[in-house]
């Protein structure tokens, strides 16, 4: 039984991690690198990661760039609109901790103040390959999940 569960879970996790649809949401400089990451040289589509314009169908929220207080509420709303299971990558210094704008009066100091972050990605901005690396690490994380067994327990 346990064996069966584990294998089913592996299979389901495989399905989840093999098609990460990320939300088409670029707030600042990192957005350009996010764009380039979807572009020809670093092709995120290889890993089955395609952009979706609507949060309902997105699994991954890549917070690419600075989030101001005025924007923060909207980001949280976007996160709320996404369907479980949902993941967040904080891309770039600004999303990690405010980065070079930590001293500013209107910038949110790190996106993990409003949404739970799964992967922190350093760089200002990180190059597209770094984003691909972050997504691969997120896949590792997803494949290690034990949600089915936790459900049973």
């Amino acid at each position: 039984m346990e064996y069966l569960l584990t294998n089913t879970e592996w299979f389901l996790n495989w399905g989840r991690k093999s098609s990460i649809w990320y939300l088409l949401f670029a707030s600042a400089c990192c957005g350009i690198e996010l764009m380039q990451a979807g572009g020809p040289r670093t092709d995120l589509d290889r890993f089955g990661a395609v952009p979706r314009a609507t949060p309902r169908q997105a699994d991954l929220l890549i917070v690419a760039g600075t989030i101001t207080y005025k924007m923060a509420e909207r980001v949280r709303l976007l996160y709320e609109q996404m369907a479980e299971p949902r993941y967040v990558i904080a891309m770039g210094s600004c999303a990690n901790c405010g980065g070079l704008f930590q001293g500013s009066y209107s910038v949110l100091k790190g996106v993990d103040k409003i949404v739970p972050v799964d992967i922190y990605l350093p760089g200002c901005p990180p190059r597209p390959e770094a984003l691909a690396d972050a997504i691969l690490k997120l896949q590792q994380k997803m494949s290690a999940e034990k949600w089915l067994r936790n459900l049973r327990a």
Partner: protein
């Protein structure tokens, strides 16, 4: 399906020929047929979605999905699995009932057409006498589903999408129907099999080359079919850069899968109709209809030919999608009412006069077919030559860039 069931009843199950027994047997066959078709449709939807992603990627000089399974072949399975596993959200203030059932209308509209779609001689679920008419009318169910979905989501973007597609699909039904009518005039019948049988195996015996008007009628039908299938340049209902995702903005999880499925299955339907109407369906060169019906391997050969033609058209549709920008709403409307419909009418009248005065199998009629076939071939050749020119021009630039004759963009500047 029915003839087969009848045959089985009479020869193998004489004792089951009581009323209930017949009902049961027919039911079994009906379910079996539905299962086969559904399996085919979903398999095609999945694979074609994967193929489109790969093809589109190549056009953008990307690779496309190639990590999930061998060469990414399992990508669509992963997508489907993930979407089914995802939480099924229903927005606040949505009309829960309509929101729930809307996708199934779309599904029914798409799936219903498969009943009358022939795949080869004998290989048709139900050979209706009014098959083509049935197909054109059952697809209207789709628009109901899309409007319901768009309206019930309680989101303005969805509403825009729903209304756009209502206007679009309903108005483009007309040129599509008229263009198909041209073929019906040539075939002298509405049954899909009959339309195919009336054509020949050789290209110049296809209906598209029967008269100059049917040569025009094909693009008209094709454009209208694109519009009905919400494909670029007519993907206004789900225009990603304008309406966030159109009518499916608020859908997630399984219900989105259904929309997804319908969209891709429709790819096959529109291409298959075009093939059976204009490109001689499953007709095999140098083989008579009767012969095809009587021998099983010819039936399979016909199936192969039909699928080959259809998939070629599918590829063309995919390429169009990734080449063209999107029309605006008013342009979409004016294109239908100002251009397609008048042209379609002209085609019908022209075809009538053509049949009356020139005739189909008369000497001038046959000659005209060869001429038109030559014209069509000329267009195809032009495309190929132009493609080759583009290819060569780019190769020249890459030669300048790297110093050696490269036919592809180098990864980094040397």
């Amino acid at each position: 399906m029915w003839p087969l069931a009848k045959y089985v009843l009479e020869n193998y199950l004489p004792r089951a020929s009581s009323a209930t027994g017949q009902v049961v047997v027919y039911l079994i066959f009906a379910l079996a047929g539905a299962g086969i078709l559904l399996g085919f449709a979903s398999a095609f939807a999945g694979v074609s979605s994967f193929v489109e992603r790969r093809v589109a990627a190549r056009m953008m000089s990307r690779v496309g999905p190639n990590r999930v399974g061998p060469q990414g072949l399992l990508q669509f399975m992963a997508d489907g699995l993930k979407l089914v596993l995802k939480e099924d959200l229903i927005p606040v203030g949505a009309n829960r009932l309509l929101f729930r059932i809307a996708p199934y209308f779309v599904f029914a509209g798409m799936f219903g057409t498969f009943v009358a779609l022939p795949f080869s001689a004998r290989l048709v679920a139900a050979n209706l006498d009014v098959g083509i008419l049935y197909i054109l009318s059952i697809t209207a169910l789709v628009v109901v589903g899309i409007i319901l979905g768009g309206w019930s989501s309680n989101s303005k973007w969805s509403l825009f999408g729903g209304l756009r597609s209502a206007a679009q699909i309903i108005s483009y039904e007309i040129p599509a129907g008229l263009a198909v009518l041209v073929v019906v005039l040539h075939a002298g019948g509405l049954s899909t099999q009959r339309i195919i049988e009336a054509q020949g195996g050789m290209p110049w015996n296809w209906f598209i080359f029967y008269s100059p008007f049917s040569l025009i009628a094909f693009p008209v039908y094709f454009t209208a079919a694109l519009a009905e299938g919400n494909r670029t340049p007519f993907d206004l209902p789900e225009a990603e850069s304008e309406l966030v995702a159109g009518y499916s903005t608020e859908y997630s999880g399984f219900r989105f899968v259904v929309f997804f499925f319908a969209e891709w299955a429709n790819l096959w339907i529109m291409s298959a109709i075009a093939v059976l109407c204009f490109f001689g369906g499953w007709r095999i060169p140098f083989v008579s209809v009767a012969a095809t019906y009587s021998t099983w391997y010819l039936i399979l050969l016909g199936l192969a030919i039909f699928c080959f033609k259809t998939l070629t058209l599918v590829l063309v549709v995919i390429q169009l999608r990734w080449t063209l920008p999107r029309l605006r709403v008013d342009q979409m409307m004016s294109m239908c009412w100002k251009y397609l419909i008048p042209i379609a009418f002209v085609c019908i009248l022209g075809t009538m006069t053509w049949i009356v005065f020139v005739g189909q199998d008369t000497m001038p009629g046959t000659a005209a077919r060869f001429v038109l076939f030559a014209a069509g071939a000329a267009i195809a050749v032009r495309q190929i030559v132009r493609t080759w020119f583009n290819y060569r021009a780019d190769r020249a630039t890459y030669t300048k860039l790297t110093g050696q004759p490269l036919w592809y963009p180098p990864y980094r500047l040397p």
